[in-house]
């Protein structure tokens, strides 16, 4: 019983992550119709915002370790701790949340530069060209990060406050066996927050409608006096920020490295398309669906019955859904269907 509840919780947790990770892509790919293979790179850049901030916060005086000969080995004491003592330690401890403040403007810049400088010229180009250019960009970004930070994962601990486990079971009066990492719960809440915000922005303003219209027929929308390119950049910037934050908040769960983006790229595309092109709710639903199913498919009981199911579950589900529902869960008609 507890096992099931835990798995459900885990499914939700994964689902939230998938939904949030795919959200940025839904905006660029599902809404703007740009096949953005650089999405993973944005996700990764967000994560490295956290890395950068942490490195800045932990700038240290190097105390030489005399026991070591042949080369310089140091014990590092961050300036912050020297100057501020306890407070310094706390600040460093909170580096991940703090870096959000830095990441939002940074990712916005990245998004706008990317859109203005490159993607803008590809809205009306064939998808093939979009694939090549965004893939190229993704590689370039990756390699730059690799050259600066190396290829090895860089651990980013969550704040002490959030790093333990929470006794979820007790909360709902279901025994003490259902414990779950606090940070993952935070991430879940965070994804709800962001998804809700973006959703509200697109659904409850005319903005979403205009962008959708612009994607269907740029020219006509402009003939109605609307500066569609401006709105596209806004969406793109927003998408960059969302993708970045998704990556940033994920760092305590997954020590970031330059390649993490590519690892999530396929998953993101699957989520978006299974959700249905151009449908925000669809993508979110797909995220949770895939998360929960994957979680259950990974239980030993299931694996014993169908070995290797957990290896393919995501794709299996994707396939079944797309065969049963022509446009995924909630896809709009005519978006990238030919």
């Amino acid at each position: 019983m507890d096992a099931i509840l835990l798995q459900i919780l885990n499914g939700l947790d994964k689902g939230g992550a998938y939904a949030l990770i795919a959200l940025g892509l839904t905006l660029i790919f599902g809404t703007l119709g740009v096949v953005n293979f650089a999405h993973g790179a944005l996700f990764m850049l967000g994560a490295f915002c956290a890395v950068t901030i942490r490195q800045l916060l932990t700038l240290s005086v190097k105390v030489k370790d005399e026991s070591v000969t042949f080369f310089e080995a140091f014990k590092e004491v961050p300036y912050l701790e020297l100057w501020l003592g306890e407070t310094g330690t706390t600040i460093i401890d909170w580096s991940v949340p703090i870096s959000i403040l830095f990441a939002i403007p940074a990712m916005l810049m990245v998004g706008l530069v990317m859109e203005r400088g490159l993607i803008r010229h590809f809205y009306r180009r064939p998808h093939a060209d979009q694939i090549l250019v965004t893939f190229g960009l993704a590689i370039v970004i990756q390699e730059i990060v690799k050259a600066t930070y190396g290829a090895n994962p860089l651990p980013q601990p969550a704040p002490e406050l959030f790093s333990g486990t929470a006794n979820v079971g007790a909360l709902f009066g279901m025994g003490d066996n259902i414990v779950y990492p606090v940070w993952r719960l935070v991430y879940l809440a965070f994804s709800f927050l962001i998804i809700g915000a973006v959703f509200a922005f697109l659904q409850f303003t005319t903005f979403g409608m205009v962008v959708r219209a612009g994607m269907a027929d740029r020219e006509t929308v402009q003939l109605l006096g609307i500066n569609i390119t401006k709105r596209f950049s806004v969406v793109f910037g927003l998408a960059a920020v969302v993708s970045g934050l998704a990556g940033l908040m994920y760092t305590p769960i997954l020590p970031p490295d330059y390649h993490m983006g590519m690892d999530f790229l396929v998953l993101s595309f699957v989520v978006v398309v299974v959700g249905g092109m151009g449908s925000l709710p669809g993508a979110v639903a797909a995220g949770f669906l895939l998360g929960i199913l994957q979680s259950f498919a990974s239980m030993n009981e299931v694996k014993q019955i169908i070995p290797g199911l957990d290896q393919i579950i995501i794709y299996l589900v994707a396939m079944i859904i797309l065969l049963v529902r022509p446009r995924g869960l909630m896809g709009r008609k005519g978006v990238m269907e030919s």
Partner: protein, 413 residues
């Protein structure tokens, strides 16, 4: 011996090929291997302080290259993919005319290029590969492994684990779902069972590169197991360990015992990736820069002075492999691989960091001391991540040559 491929006899120089991952997850490990290779070449050519050439014995090298020919090298990117690695190796052999190639950071790749080595008749001195298959069912006459393997990890760890965590533990294995993972899982199971009476509660296969392992960790929580063994390497290990610890496993009490996590195969780079989470975790490793024997010190000295930081175990094994090959050629007095192989087979040497070592002829596996290490609780420096818990003597980890049957293949190809 007749003609052989890329015979350098009537050339002034001899080319070696260093085939390491330069992109992908193991790029940093590959970079470190490459440093070691370059250092080895320097030393062979009589430049620098000579490194282990001052300590290895017996020693036939004269510091004038190999058989008096200056050593040159070419590099390539394996991308940690069998096809890419083979393509790169073929380039070295067909285009650059190397006489030997070395390197690599995964068993799959090692086995793939090793069989290529056999087909092409060019010696391959494997880099970092830990699967039993490399010198077991997939052994080749033209492939040699200096690194230790899963079997030895098990043999070395079991007694320490028993001493540290007691007998009759309930073990939960999370295992990377491919040959290396399986072979390590089996080795660990066998030894902990026979020596410490540990029972396997469950052994779960996880997809390679899963990223988030939470769905495999949640079932551990209430499974009644009190030890978690992570048969993962590289990125997967970094992630699964980080996440396992987030799930509070190490703070748990099960069956009245403290819950423990074991990572059978460690490396410093993995330790860096796992950060805080590695502290106090037990595992095995091939070599560590803090070893105080003269061979290790000599190597750490010249590597450290060259690059400003200590070498990794990957660097160590690659350096040794190059030296061992060169020395074998000197002894053979010819580059003819058949003769060189014969020289390497059943060669016993010392002074290279792992005590007296045997290159067993029957399977081309080196038998040497294995280190059991523990994640350092309070490091004295940024490199001081692993504490050498125990140096398990070679005798404890040796096994009969028919344990993992395989076919070396012919000398002549």
């Amino acid at each position: 011996a007749g003609a052989f491929r890329n015979d350098p006899t009537n050339q002034a120089t001899v080319k070696l090929g260093f085939n390491v991952p330069q992109s992908g997850a193991y790029a940093d490990e590959g970079a470190d291997e490459l440093r070691a290779f370059k250092l080895a070449v320097k030393h062979l050519n009589g430049e620098g302080d000579g490194g282990m050439m001052n300590t290895m014995k017996p020693l036939s090298l004269k510091g004038n290259g190999i058989l008096g020919k200056k050593v040159e090298y070419v590099t390539g990117d394996t991308q940690t993919k069998s096809d890419a690695a083979r393509a790169s190796a073929k380039r070295m052999i067909e285009k650059d005319g190397v006489i030997m190639f070395s390197g690599g950071s995964s068993s799959g790749v090692a086995i793939a290029v090793q069989s290529l080595a056999q087909e092409m008749g060019t010696i391959f001195m494997a880099g970092l590969t830990h699967s039993n298959d490399t010198t077991g069912k997939d052994r080749r006459r033209y492939g040699f492994r200096h690194f230790f393997n899963a079997h030895m990890s098990g043999a070395a760890l079991a007694p320490v684990l028993e001493a540290e965590y007691g007998r009759d533990r309930q073990v939960y294995h999370l295992t990377a779902d491919y040959t290396w993972g399986w072979s390590q899982e089996k080795s660990i199971q066998d030894f902990t069972a026979s020596q410490a009476g540990w029972q396997t509660k469950a052994a779960v296969r996880t997809p390679v590169g899963a990223g988030d392992f939470s769905q495999y960790i949640t079932p551990v929580l209430n499974s009644g197991a009190d030890v978690l063994v992570l048969n993962h390497y590289g990125k997967d290990m970094v992630n699964s360990l980080t996440q396992a610890i987030q799930f509070g496993l190490r703070d748990k009490q099960v069956n009245g015992k403290d819950f423990q996590i074991v990572v059978p195969l460690f490396s410093r780079l993995m330790a860096q990736g796992a950060g805080e989470n590695i502290k106090g975790i037990l595992g095995s490793t091939g070599w560590n820069w803090k070893l105080q024997d003269e061979g290790s010190r000599a190597f750490v000295k010249s590597f450290g002075q060259e690059y400003g930081f200590p070498p990794s175990q990957a660097a160590h094994t690659c350096y040794c492999q190059t030296m061992l090959y060169a020395d074998a050629v000197e002894r053979a007095g010819t580059f003819n691989p058949e003769e060189v192989i014969k020289q390497l087979e059943d060669h016993t040497f010392d002074g290279m960091g792992n005590g007296e070592t045997l290159y067993r002829g029957a399977d081309h596996q080196c038998f040497k001391d294995v280190l059991v290490v523990r994640g350092n609780e309070n490091p004295s420096s940024q490199f001081d991540l692993l504490d050498v818990q125990q140096i398990v003597p070679r005798a404890k980890v040796e096994y009969p040559e028919d344990t993992y049957p395989g076919e070396l293949g012919p000398y002549k190809v």
